[in-house]
């Protein structure tokens, strides 16, 4: 379980995140939604231990989160900073050398599922295929928590669909939790158990997707619009 208590993150004088309480339970899929600049990516970095909160605390299974938490958290950034001259297969070997929980066979299975040529150089991959490769090497880690920052951002509908299906096929929901930031809400909604709205750095609401549909008779996008109006 990841638990955040009253976390605040300041960059110089601007507050990016303010007073957020949050709990990530095992075996569930969470969506963090909100407008651009709302603070959702900052929140994800804080949960992953890549950023340190200015105030408040974050624990993973009771232990404080640090940069060393990377052993229990697989984090996928929305930047592409892979070494461009690597082949896909070399990237897989590199990941294997960096993470003890990296499952090389699983990575290869995911790449096959997503129809990626293992011998292609990264610099020759299309944006969509690079997105698929990023997902493959992240999900191939058997870490209890997978945090994905905007996994569908800027990708075309076919690629988005294959990424969603790759997540369903390969994430082990008996043992892994997933936290996804996104503004492609429609594509991601059927994948989510719960959604968290971040608005102007604060947590505005958190609900189960089924409850939103049942009680509010709205899909998540409609609910987000109503709550942030």
């Amino acid at each position: 379980m990841i638990e955040a208590h009253q976390i605040t993150k300041r960059f110089l004088t601007t507050k990016a995140i303010e007073g957020i309480d949050l709990r990530i339970d095992p075996g569930k899929i969470y969506g963090i939604i909100g407008e651009n600049g709302s603070g959702k990516s900052t929140l994800l970095k804080l949960l992953s231990g890549l950023l340190h909160p200015s105030k408040g605390s974050i624990t993973i299974n009771g232990e404080p989160v640090t940069r060393q938490s990377a052993s229990t958290i697989a984090y996928m950034t929305d930047f592409d900073r892979f070494y461009p001259y690597f082949k896909v297969s070399e990237l897989v070997s590199f990941y294997e050398s960096q993470f003890v929980d990296f499952n090389k066979n699983k990575a290869e299975d995911i790449l096959d599922f997503l129809a990626i040529d293992h011998e292609q150089k990264l610099k020759h991959l299309s944006k969509g295929n690079l997105g698929r490769v990023k997902l493959a090497v992240t999900v191939a880690r058997e870490a209890p928590f997978l945090l994905l920052d905007e996994p569908l951002s800027g990708l075309d509908p076919m690629v988005r669909e294959s990424i969603v299906k790759g997540i369903i096929q390969f994430v082990d929901f008996d043992r892994q939790s997933l936290v996804i930031t996104t503004h492609e809400i429609r594509d991601i909604e059927p994948l989510l158990d719960e959604v968290i709205i971040i608005h102007e750095g604060k947590k505005l609401d958190q609900q189960r997707v089924d409850d939103i549909r049942m009680k509010e008779q709205l899909d998540v996008e409609g609910w987000l619009k109503r709550r942030t109006r």
Partner: protein, 125 residues
């Protein structure tokens, strides 16, 4: 993206209706094996926890039966399937009547409308 879900009802309920519909029109026959939770999750693009709930609720409704270690199967109880067909009919009538009432139509306008619709369809054929 996979299936177009309606915005105002939980996804698991829509998947139950979808599977129940396939069972009623015998696209899935009594005794047929349903896809595994994972397979159906990938096929529909839906969270595996949701699919688990779909199968669990359908089992409580006695439309499907799970056999340990083998998977989930459409029930072979024909009476239950007949009952399900009637239930689905009632459900869709309720949706229809609710939508039409919301638009201000009376029940007699609805029945007249249905008769006219049927008659027109007859002319075309």
């Amino acid at each position: 993206m996979g299936i177009d879900f309606q915005p105002d009802r939980p996804i698991y309920q829509q998947l139950i209706d979808r599977l129940a519909g396939e069972i009623i029109r015998e696209k899935r026959k009594p005794g047929d094996k349903l896809p595994s939770v994972r397979e159906y999750a990938v096929e529909t693009g839906v969270n595996a926890n949701t699919i688990q709930r779909v199968y669990r609720e359908m089992e409580q409704m006695e439309i499907v039966q799970s056999k340990r270690g083998q998977g989930t199967f459409v029930t072979e109880n024909r009476d239950r399937l007949h009952e399900l067909r009637e239930q689905m009919k009632q459900t869709y009538i309720e949706y229809f009547v609710k939508d039409m009432s919301d638009l201000g139509f009376t029940i007699s306008e609805m029945t007249e409308g249905l008769a006219e619709h049927e008659a027109k369809k007859g002319e075309k054929e």
